[in-house]
Symmetry: C2
Subunit: 202 residues, 2 copies
């Protein structure tokens, strides 16, 4: 049974930290929720910070899994895959009553100034998110689905920012409006060739 | 002297909450930093939450003041005013070593799920930020500085999201790259009239 304690601690830790933040969640509270003896925490983690570093990885995998199927769907075009990727997160967020938001973004906000180890690990995950989107945009550009003048890497970086901020606004408003605005602005304005550009004489 | 205690508590509270978050900052710590007697807190605020509500207003005014001069500069065009507005924040953030970010965005992230009063007040401030930008975009559109097909209100909402997320990424990376990407993507891609579309107006 003992080797099931670590996954239980991480699962309950992820749930509580997602709700309350890292600093505001106590180790005792996590162990109680995981139904694990108090002394066992330091058997698995040498400090709360070490636990936090493993938690980042755990939460990032959990977050990535939400959009993974949509992003790699072989039956959809690159641009449709990207749209469905964000829709998968929007749906999950809506089901969750617009609570929580992005677990990685939340920890960036809370911890980037407080722990250099947290910061480096979180930054790497945002980079990975950007790289996935960049690959999809590259394919969309190759197939003529998006404006040729857009650099996939820079655009992906911008889309990550816009998405994180849209989650923040939706969380504050407890409404999907900011997510709809994101989809409309990214997919119908930013990436799309405006009608007037393709038909200069109209 | 007593009537100077409240501003001192708010100023030190804002500084500490900006660094550490609301939940992680104790009242005792704020009073110590403000050099104010312990008993006096409840003379001015009936609870920590009431203090937080006044703090939101205090922090929002502090945040708004950074970009105000740029946004209302009568010598600049609407689009130049908007660009200088974000540059004023980027400069301040850079001077601060990319620590902190947007105090309003931080509290949205931390408190929107935990206090309905916080949430409503924070949401209103994000709305106000959007309205200021929307007015500027409306003027930019009237002067032909941005694409005619963009709705100022929706675009402003999106820009607020993109900005909040760019601050988050810059905070995580401790670098201005995400802010440069924001300026490039918003002002050279999203708002700009593509060359072929501007032809009919010449």
């Amino acid at each position: 049974m003992a080797n099931q304690n670590k996954p239980k601690i991480l699962a309950q830790g992820a749930r509580l930290v997602y709700q309350k933040g890292f600093n505001h969640t106590g180790i005792g509270e996590i162990l109680k929720a995981a139904n694990v003896p108090k002394g066992s925490f330091y058997h698995y983690f040498s400090s709360k910070e070490d636990f936090g570093i493993e938690l980042i990885d755990y939460m990032a995998k959990w977050a990535a899994s939400v959009g993974q199927a949509a992003l790699t769907d072989p039956s959809a075009s690159p641009l449709a895959r990207l749209k469905n990727y964000f829709r998968a997160y929007a749906k999950r967020f809506e089901q969750n009553g617009y609570q929580g938001g992005c677990p990685v973004g939340n920890l960036c906000q809370e911890m980037s100034d407080q722990s250099e180890r947290f910061r480096r690990n979180l930054e790497a995950i945002l980079q990975q998110m950007g790289e996935k989107i960049s690959i999809c945009l590259q394919q969309a550009r190759d197939q003529g689905e998006i404006r040729a003048g857009l650099d996939p890497e820079t655009t992906a970086r911008f889309i990550v920012s816009a998405w994180q901020g849209s989650l923040l606004q939706a969380k504050a408003a407890k409404s999907r409006e900011a997510l709809d605005v994101f989809e409309q602005m990214v997919f119908e304005q930013l990436l799309k060739t405006p009608p007037s550009a393709s038909q200069p004489n109209l």
